[in-house]
């Protein structure tokens, strides 16, 4: 497991990891809990973000969910330069 490093402010390329807020919805929220954070070292791809989430919460391995960083959906192949909030979004069920 990657060693966790606490970091406060300025983010540089290849910076050490910093804690990002995790918000989860629907059935995933019951598996992750509230007020969670995850240490992440940006830039990261959507696939890498998913891997970090599932590594931390293995109970999510069989769950379907999309990932949004700062309220923007991220595809697996997309590279995310930075972010402060990661949302775990199961299939939508409104309407």
């Amino acid at each position: 497991m990657k060693e966790e490093v606490m970091q406060d402010d300025a983010i540089e390329d290849d910076a050490p990891s910093r804690r990002v807020s995790i918000v989860a919805f629907g059935p995933v929220s019951e598996l992750v809990g509230e007020n969670q954070t995850l240490p992440l070292a940006f830039p990261l791809s959507g696939a890498e973000l998913r891997g970090a989430v599932v590594q931390t919460w293995p109970q999510l391995a069989q769950q379907r969910f999309s990932i949004a960083v700062d309220q923007k959906l991220v595809r697996d192949e997309q590279i995310v330069a930075n972010g402060s909030e990661l949302a775990l979004l199961p299939p939508f069920a409104g309407g």
Partner: protein
């Protein structure tokens, strides 16, 4: 004649069921626009579904809705703007409201009202907005059962 577009209300997500009177209020407002020749509306209603894998007599009493609110508000606005922009009409008036929190059986979790120049655009836009909302907006519902249990709603 330049096309007129209106998308409302300012906040699409409200606490509790969408009030029944919203339908008549918005319809009346849209009808008053002289460019509107057709008003089409959709009201979702919470059903007393009986889960197939639960004991006989088990049924849904209410749905508790939650959302990734800021993202959901923006997603509703963007899909309304996109679909309104694709509609050829003298006027495109859209009203979309979705409930958060507990909505009992028989009440409205969602109301969509569309005013447009002609019926074809109005029907198409109402249906299009509903289908887009179901696939693009991070809203979730937990079905609350009369047994005390619950189950996460899946869209069809």
């Amino acid at each position: 004649m330049q096309s007129q577009t209106h998308i409302g209300p300012e906040k699409h997500l409200i606490q509790g069921p969408v009030p029944r009177e919203r339908l008549t209020e918005v319809t009346a407002a849209f009808e008053a626009n002289p460019r509107v020749g057709a008003v089409v509306s959709f009201c979702g209603v919470v059903r007393a579904d009986e889960p197939p894998d639960a004991p006989a007599g088990t049924r849904v009493e209410a749905i508790d809705f939650s959302a990734y609110e800021q993202m959901a508000e923006r997603a509703i606005r963007e899909l309304c703007e996109r679909l309104a922009g694709q509609t050829q009409s003298e006027a495109v008036l859209l009203h979309v409201e979705h409930a958060l929190g507990r909505v009992p059986v028989g009440e409205y979790p969602i109301v969509i009202v569309v005013g447009a120049g002609h019926r074809a655009e109005a029907f198409a836009l109402c249906s299009g907005v509903l289908e887009a909302l179901k696939s693009e907006v991070p809203i979730y519902g937990k079905e609350l059962l009369n047994s005390g249990g619950s189950a996460w709603k899946k869209n069809t």
